[in-house]
Each structure stands twice: as C-alpha cells, then as structure tokens.
Symmetry: C2
Amino acid sequence: MAQIHPNLTITKSGISLIKANLHQAPLFISTLEATKQEVEEEIALGVKVPIPKDMAGGYTHERHKKNFFILQKAGNLFQITGDKKYAEYIKEVFMAYADMFPTLPLHPTNRSYATGKIFWQCLNDANWLVYCSQAYDCIYDYLTKEERHHLESNLFRPFADFISLENPRFFNRVHNHSTWANAAVGMIGLAMHDEELIERALFGIQDDGIDPTMVDDDGGYIKVEGQKKAGFFAQLDYSFSPDGHFTEGPYYLRYAMSPFLLFSKCLHNSRPELNIYNYRDGILEKAIYSMLNETDANGLFFPINDAQKGMSWLSREVVGAIDIGYHDFGLDPMLLSIAEKQGKVLLDENGFVVARDLAKGMATPFAHKSIAYNDGADGKMGGIGILRANGDEGDEICLLMKYAAHGMGHGHFDRLGYSLYDETGEVIQDYGSARWVNIDQKGGGRYLPENQTYAKQTIAHNTVTANEISQYQGSVKKGDANASTQYFFDASNDDLQVVSAKDDKAYPGVEMHRTMLLLKDDNFRKPLLIDIFKLTSEQENQYDLPVWFLGHLLSASFEYEKEATSLTTLGSDHGYQHIWREATGHSDKESTQITWFGKRKFFTLTSATDPEDELIFVKTGANDPDFNLRYDPALIHRKKEAKDALYVSAIESHGRYNPVSEISSDPFSGLEKIEVLHDSVDYTVVKLTGKSQKTWTIGVANVDNDIVSNHKVKLGEKMMSWTGPIMISKTMNQ
Amino acid sequence: MAQIHPNLTITKSGISLIKANLHQAPLFISTLEATKQEVEEEIALGVKVPIPKDMAGGYTHERHKKNFFILQKAGNLFQITGDKKYAEYIKEVFMAYADMFPTLPLHPTNRSYATGKIFWQCLNDANWLVYCSQAYDCIYDYLTKEERHHLESNLFRPFADFISLENPRFFNRVHNHSTWANAAVGMIGLAMHDEELIERALFGIQDDGIDPTMVDDDGGYIKVEGQKKAGFFAQLDYSFSPDGHFTEGPYYLRYAMSPFLLFSKCLHNSRPELNIYNYRDGILEKAIYSMLNETDANGLFFPINDAQKGMSWLSREVVGAIDIGYHDFGLDPMLLSIAEKQGKVLLDENGFVVARDLAKGMATPFAHKSIAYNDGADGKMGGIGILRANGDEGDEICLLMKYAAHGMGHGHFDRLGYSLYDETGEVIQDYGSARWVNIDQKGGGRYLPENQTYAKQTIAHNTVTANEISQYQGSVKKGDANASTQYFFDASNDDLQVVSAKDDKAYPGVEMHRTMLLLKDDNFRKPLLIDIFKLTSEQENQYDLPVWFLGHLLSASFEYEKEATSLTTLGSDHGYQHIWREATGHSDKESTQITWFGKRKFFTLTSATDPEDELIFVKTGANDPDFNLRYDPALIHRKKEAKDALYVSAIESHGRYNPVSEISSDPFSGLEKIEVLHDSVDYTVVKLTGKSQKTWTIGVANVDNDIVSNHKVKLGEKMMSWTGPIMISKTMNQ
C-alpha cells in the first residue's frame, strides 16, 4: 500500500476536483471563507494547550475541544489553499500536546467510568483523536520524518493505547462511546500506517476482562450478555437493526454517526478492499436514512429515550452525514434540500459536490415517509412505527409509536407509548430527558436526578402505567432483555394507516395490545389519530393512561373538581411523586371530550369512558427542589380495580385562532362520541360518531394478524365481516 | 351643500384617481381582487338576514356582522368597478333589513347594559350602522327616491334613533362604545343629509337623565363626574390626553380608532368647514402615532389594562389608521412600511395612494421612539413612559412604565408597574386580561371572573402590593379619580434613559417613588434595566414586589425551600388566592441573583436584599376552577413589617442558547452585586458592581426634580455631587 497523504477523509483527487471547479460551488466557497476567518482568528491567538483540569463548560475543556475542531479545519484549509501557515499552526499545536502528553496523569476530576486525560471522560479524548488524525493526515507530508516520529511516539500512539488498551471498558463495548474510540484508534492508525492499531480498531481488544456487572455513567451495562465481539465491525453489527434503526434513538444516532461515517469514509479511501459501504447490506446508508426519517416535519429528532428537544438535522454532525451520504450513496437529490437548510458543507470532496449540485438546482424536498423500523441487531426486538398524513393545507400529522428495545443506559420505560406531531412540532409530547445540555446552572449540563426519577418512568410517557409502577419495575436490565412485538403495520393506504403492537413482558400477567390509526377523511380537516389500547389480565390492576397534551385546557365535557387552595402529589414513586393532581373528574356518559388550545390551534381528545373511570388533570413539578422539571399538563384516564380494560380515544386537530383578527375557525371537534361495540379476546370493534350522525366503525382482529384471514363479529342483529387484522367501515348521512 | 354621492369615506374625485392610475398600485389591485372574490362568494349565497337571537360567536351574530362588512366592501366595489351587481345586492340586503327592523324587539339575550336589536349589545348595532352608512352612500344615486325614502324611514332613521335617543346611556358617554354610536348616527346623518342626526352625533343628546351610579358591563361608570358634554366632539375632547394617549390603552384605542377616523374622514369630505383634522391641535394624528408607538418591536400592542396579547398593528382596524394617516396627515413614509406588513389597503383613495407610494419604493422602517405620554384629557393624570435602546446585535430592550390614570372599566390596579420587552416580545410580562376573545369555550369569549379577581389586581403586575391589598383597595371609582405623577423623564441620552414617577394615593399613608433606567454600556451586551423603588410610610407595612419573568428558573444565588409534596395559596384575596407559593428563600448576602431561561436566552435579575426579606417563588393557577388562568412564574420580593423600604434591582439579558449546536453563550450575568450606598428623604445612591470590579454608581434626587439643581451626598469620606435629578458615575478597572 503506497503511503499517500492525505487519504483519510480527504484525498488528493478530491482536492484537485475542488481546486479546479471551486467557482461552481458558492456554498462551498462561503463555508471556506467562514472557516478561514474562524481558523485565522485562532491562529492569531497563538497556541493554547493548558494542563487539563475543568469539567465540560470549563475553560480547559472548552479550549481543548476548540483545538481539535480548529486543527481538523486547518488541515483541510492547508490542503485546499496550500497556505503553509495552517500546516505550521497544526504542527506547533501538536508539538505542544506531545510535550505535555507523556507525563500527563488522568484528568483530575475522576467522575467518569472511563476518565480521560485531556478531558474528564475518555469519550472526549476519543473525539480529540478522531479530529486530530485528520489534521495529522493533512500535514503528514509537510512534516519531516523526525517530526512525525516524535509526534507518533510521544503523542499519537500512546494516546491511542490509552483510550483502548488502558480503557477496555470504554473501548470494547458496543456503544456510541466505543464507536468514537474505535474510530479514533483506527483513524490515527491509518494516518500512521500502524496496522496493529487498525486491527484493534476494527476487531477490538481480544481479552478485555470486563466485569459483566459494570455500568457506565448513565446506568447502562458495559457488557451485553452473550455478545463476544468488539471493535468497529461489532459496532456495525450490533448498533443498528438490519434496517438502520439505532436503539438509543435518533438524538444519539446523530452523535454516533460522526465516527461511523468518518472512519468508514477513511476506510473507503484507504482500504477499499474492505468494501465498508456495503458492509451488512449497506447498513451505513440505512442508518443515515433512519436518522433523517426519525424527525418531525422540520427535521427535529423524535425525542426518544434520553434526548434533548430542539436538536435537528441542522446540527453539525448531520452536515457530515448529508454530504457523505449524498456523495457516496447515490446522489439523492432530497439530501441536497437538507444541505441547503444547513447552509454549510464539509470542506472536502463530499461537501464540494453537494454545493456544486445545489448550485445546479438539483435539490428536491426531503419527503418524510410513513415507515416502520425494527429494533435490535437481529431486528427482532420490536421497533417503532411512524405514520404521516397530510391535512387540508399541506400540513401534516405524524404519529410515532414505540414498541422497541430499551435503548440501554439512555432508555425510557415507555413500551407502547407514542408521541404526536404536526407541521409545527409536538402536539402530544414525550417529555424527553431531564437535562439542560451544556447549561452550566443545571447540574453542569449533565443528566439531572429527575431524569431517573421522572423522565425515564412510564407515567412520563403516553402509555399505560399499571399499579403506579413503571414497566419492568424500572429495571434497565429487564428492559434491555425484552422488547414489545409489532403486531401489524400498514401505511400503504394513505387514508387509513395502522400500527399495532403487543407487550406481555413489561407488566408480568398483563397483556397490552395497542392499535393506532391515522384516518384521513373529508369530514375532518386534519388526519384523525385513533387509539385502541386493550389490556388483559387475570389480576385486578389500576391502569393509568396519560395524554401529555401541549397547550391550555379550554373545556371538558365532564364534571371535575379542581383543587382550589392546596395541591398534593399523585403518588410517591415511579415518577408519580413529581406530578401534582390538579383536578379529578368523572363522566356519566359513555364518551367524553376535552379541548385544548396550543400553537394557536384547537385540539380535541374524545375518549370512551366508564362511569367508574377517574379523569385526572395533572401537572409536573412536584418534588423538584431545584426547578429542574418543566410544568407540563396531562389528562390521566384511570381505570381502577380492572382486570381487562379497553381504552379507545381519538385526537383531532380541528381549528385555528388568529390573535390579530381575533377570529376562531372551527373551535369545536367534528366528533360527537366514541363507543365500544364489541370487545372480546378475538375482536374489538369501536364506533366513532361525527357531526350529522356520520359514523366510522373500526374492527381489530386481536389474535390473528394474517392479512388474508377472514373475520366475523356479530353486532346485535348485524354481522360484520372483513379480511385482515383491521377493518374500517364508514356510514355517511344515515 | 350639494348632494353629492359618494362623499363619506370615498369621494368622486378619489374614484377618478383610482380608476385612472390603478396599474401603479399592485397592493391595491391585489386587495381589490381578493375583495371581489369575497363579496361575490357572499352574493352567490344570497341575502341572509335572520331574526337576531345569538350571542357573539353564534350564527345570527356572525351572520349580521359579516353582512355589514360585506355591504361596505360591495359599496366600494360598485364605485370602483361600476358593476351594478354590487349595488343591487346592497339594495336587496337593505330591503330585507327594512322589512325586519320596524317590528324587531330588543335582542332576546338581554345581557348588556345597552341591549341592541340586531346584536346582543348596542355597540355591535352601532358597528352595523357605521359600515352600512358607507354602503348606502355608495348606492345613494343608484336608488330611486322612493327606495331611499323607504330605507331611511323604515330602517336608517329609526335605527339611528334607537342607538341614540332610546339608549342615552350608550350614546351619551365618553367611551369607545359611544364613539361608535356617535360615528354611526353622524355617518348615516351625512348620508341621509339629516342635519338633526349630524348635530346629535357631534354634540350628543342634551338631557340624557342618566343615573350617575350606573355602570357598564365591564364595571366602568357611565357618567364621569363633572363632565357635561357628549357627542363626537366630547369624545375628541376627553378620550385622549393632549398628546394622543388613550386612557384605556392601545388595545382599546385600536378598536376605537375606526369610528374616530371613519367619521372624521366623512366630516373632512362632507363638512370641510369643521376642519376636523386640526381639531384640538391635531388630536387624531397624535392618536394614530401614540397607538403605533405603544407597541413592541414587532408592533404588538402593550397589553395595558384589559388587553388580549397578540393583537398588533397588523389588525384590520389599523389598516384604516395607516392608510388615512398616510394620506391625510403628511405622507409619512414610515407608515408605508407598516402598510407593507399589513399586506392590504383600504379600497379607497387613501389605500390607493398608500399602495401607489409603496410601489414607488418610498417606504422607510417605522422607528419606535422613546417617549412619554401624558394621560387624562387635560394631560394631568400621570402617564406612561417608554424607553427603548438597542443591543449589540441591532436587537432591542424596551421598557414600558405606567403611572397613568385608571383606564375606566378596563383599568388595572397597576400604578408604577412596568413591563419589559426585547425584539422578540415580552421579557417581564403584564398578565393582560383573563379573557379569550371570541373563544366560545371560555365563557363565550367574554371577560372571565378571574379578570376581576386576578388580572386587574395589583399583585398580577410588576409593582408593589402593600399588605396584600390592591391599590385603591380595588375601587374603580377611587382609581378613576386619581393618577400617579411623573417625576422625571429623559430619553435624550441614548446611553442612560430615565423614567421616574411617584404615587401617594394608591396606598394612603405610603409614598411610592419608582425610578427606572435603561443603561447602555459596553460592559453589557444588551441595555440593562435598573429599577429603584422607594417606599416611605409612617406605618409598618408588608411590601410585595413581584417580577413576572417569562421563562424557566435556572438558578438562584440564595437558599430556598421548594414545596415538595403540597402547595398552598399565597393569600386569600386581592389576587393572592390565585397564586401558589412554590418556594421560599432568604439571603444573607446584600445582593442576590436569579437567572432564568426563556426564548432561548439567558436573563438575570440582580437585587439588593436584606436578610429579613423573603424571596418567594410563585406560580399562578390556584382557585381557578375552570382552568382559565395561565400558569406563570414570578419571584416576589417581600419586605415585612417595614415602614420605609427600598428595592433596587437590575434585569439583564446576557446570553443565548442554541439547541442545535447545544452551545450556551454568555450564560452568566455581567453583574456581581448591587448595594445601597445612601438612602434618605432627599437622596438615594446605589452602586452596581460588574465583572472585574467595574462599578456604576447612580444617584437619585428624591425631592427636587429640577434639571438645574445641584446635589451633594456624603458617602463615607467622599462627597458626591451632581446636577439634575439623576446622576450616574462609572469606574472602570479600579
């Protein structure tokens, strides 16, 4: 193998292409100019390599973090512009690190399961090496052999050994942390032509001797039972489902994508014989698209598991995924429209081609799809179902239902939960994580205690909590070992899309079966979400199904007593201790409604109710000594002393309000009521009645999900028959 | 006077101008086309004049409301296009009203102090006549003499008599309701050439025999003591301060502007000898500009008194004010930029000229000014002070301080209160009104009980409540009779703008003096609000000063105990019954800080504190049986058993957070502390200390507000001297 440099993320031929055609790519030019200015400001400040001491947010942390980003950029600038000042700066900074590193002890904070040297955790050290490898590759030929030897023997090789051999619990996991570690070791190995490091990166450390009970800072297990492999190939094997879903969710996938794609890109350039892009049937490309599909209409990631809301495909990490995804995976013009929104590109051949093709007007809008993803490396750990349908104004209603695996240390106990979105964002929310990332005042930006005690608990999600105890009794180990099961998914009919899943492990002795439908119908301005949640048990249980609606309650069709002068908590554990009980209601009617106002829109929840049910209005914020929680409302539908139970409801977006004209349009629901016509082991049949007595009858075959099976249910005098797991029948103007 | 038609809001010469130059005014053309479509859709539906029965929001109400808007538009379309279908439609609708009106009883709802016939309140009937007069004027010459006689004797004249002679309590007030009534009677009088109606409109009914204790639906008095005049001139005399401020506030001024401007426009066209635009030294022009200046950076009206937030200069009513304001009051190019945002114009000469000049590129941005407005017809009832200063990114901080009269039935007990805005809207909020205008689910869109029990009360505002009792003990009568006094206002120095006011009537025996400053300084990225609130009393009082910050609390520099498992109300009356006490803290330090996060920005309140002070975190929402209130947070700074007291604080906007990059910039305050150096009857001197020991010392002369007076205060060894009521002295890098 010839020792050509650069050959990691950028290549000689790529540089030639860029230089010859720069004028074709205005977005590349503007990114280039902005990067020059940024890097030159840093060069003007001089070399700053302080002795590490601070946590994230503190000076030394932020300084070293800035260093590696700037070095990588300076490397690309050197290659593109040929200006040696960039190379010289990189050399000087590396020399300062090489002076410091040999005698550097562990970072003094000692607060991580894998404490780093430059940073408080090895993860950030690995970030450093991923970016610095690229800078080193860019100036490899600029340095003398002696300089290279000095840097490699005093800095890069010992650095790589530190984050691997000296920290196997960090290096040898299947986890996004370890992906960074593998990529870091592999990329510096490629830059140094160090086959041992490359081998270690790809296949892991053979005998790591890790204690199987050890957990990381987030409570995730280091070792997964029965999993023997480690290294980058193992990450590719185990991190994704066969269709590219990432079990920790898209917020974390965004973060993990960088090392996956950067190292793969390097291998693609330097080790084409590995054919890495086709590995596992093209898993990297699938991962890129699963990440993009697991977003709302504006590209904000669904906040599955521990995720901070507001993160989107505009983030720095996704710029790389879009540019490499476009260049190396088929020039999909939909990716160009995302690149345009990002407003910047990678300073390499990928980014250049994106900018050039954007300038050619080749972009088409990204079309979000209704799609189901499996979870688990074998695709057998449940999954998620995403249903999307357009409203009457080109707007969108999007359902995310989750019946996936636990998501490891970042997982939430939210089996059969869902969240609902419209074209502006959340309608029925997932709490996300109790964390204010990089906001120092909130616990230094780390996960807050309430993340464990509230955000992860079942009651914080739009699914049933039985007996005021979280699913799997809140055990990550049990959660990791089990998943729900997809029962049925069909998005082929735009007018009636269905996702249905079952779970009998989250609550031993309780079978849960939830079917959610997105109904498009001329009688409703927006797609209607219909939710049929069936519980079966031989024991009596209390079931709580919350709807965490985002907005202000306008009206309820039932009587309730609101607490006037004192509030108390809804319970004492499993998240209930964080919830204030605001009002308690009951309904005599078989169907009840609440209407709320949010985002200048009107929404209505219509639910089938029994007179014994409690309808409890709550808000979060109790037992929250540091004001860490948001104060969010929900309606909890409680069924007490129930063995079997059936929740049936619909959520409708039906009107708008304009505060300038002060005009409400369609402030009332188009539904009159919801009834249960039949509920047995085999079948559930419900009826929705709208204005003018129009009706929609929906049947679910609860046991047989074969799409060719025929079903019959007797409803009074009438026999209802259909084929396949779901039936809908409409009656207009009776 | 020749009987020329049309000659109310549009004129023959205006129509000629429009027809000859239509192509020059694209915005006029687009408004014209949209209006044609709207009116033709209504014509296609046929004449709909139902027997009145519904409240606002109900069918007959909305139908009749739509009728008068469409008729006015149809009239203009007839004049501009010459198409007789519009005139014929107007005639048919009028004939249907003329058939119905003679036998129409009072509206069956009977829920207003002045029940109408077509609508539930006379106010809406007056709206009907204001718009229908214009339509009648447009088709006057199209009708036969017999038809005119029929309409005038069966519909218009009895209609005008009904809302005036038969409802003097509605017609003969000085109030926005009566302005509509006066305009309605005057405009139909002009259209019919009925001098008696015109006279009645201009000068009122001479002997109205109204009971002086009578109140309207909002609790406002019908008669103001000592006020003898009525009619349109009286409205012009008493509704505004000499500089154009409207005592009910800009939200209501927006609504009242329509009859003021429409009737004035008619008089300007038909009775030029009245010289109405110069009446009271040009009060109408001043009113237009006070309305536009009493908005935030985006043109949203300050929610003074009963006002629904979100209403802005984009509203329908302001379209008229901008177009007439531009055409008739000096062609101010700043108004064109607002017209451009409104995206539509009046279908008359005013709107045409606006659209034409916009197309010529003559618009300039509307420059909001720092300005003080007096209140009261004589300008002696206090006022409001508005200070605005730009930040480092062209952004804005804007303070509104209120020391005005009560605002009649819509007034709040908020003397010496303030609200704070930035370029995106509210930072420190005024609650506004407890009302959801036209949202049926919330009490039919009317004022809710909580408007009286909470929104109007002093504790709902950013000013001091003494002894848990609202100002003036919550008496509208006492509030109406008194105002605070401006002590000093100076916005001439962009780096230090000041507003200062006093009040000794709101709490008998308590003298309140508040001085608020907007400081622009290179040491702060945004202008800093400094608040010096001095209270003097011979009795011991409890003082509560809330800061209704909009956002989520991030940190507090003092210890507090947050209620973990139960919440109770802060008090039992005067709004306190609606407030949950969430946490109570104390500080040993002479200065404390809280930092909150809102609108993706960081804000810090720094306050001088005594160890005996209570620092109480609260939220609204108690005693709110129907979920009518928002759940908003505040910090209440409580001083107990205090005679004299001094509150000194500063509010700083100092940083941002980007949820996509997850980067916080400047999350910490630039202030270290605030100290009181001196506080006596004559002088108050406070010191703010920033980072690196930079200091700002501010002196207030409490008694002598003469700008040429010299002042001296001894501070330890140092003598501080200055001229005028306010002094600031900076010390950098001591």
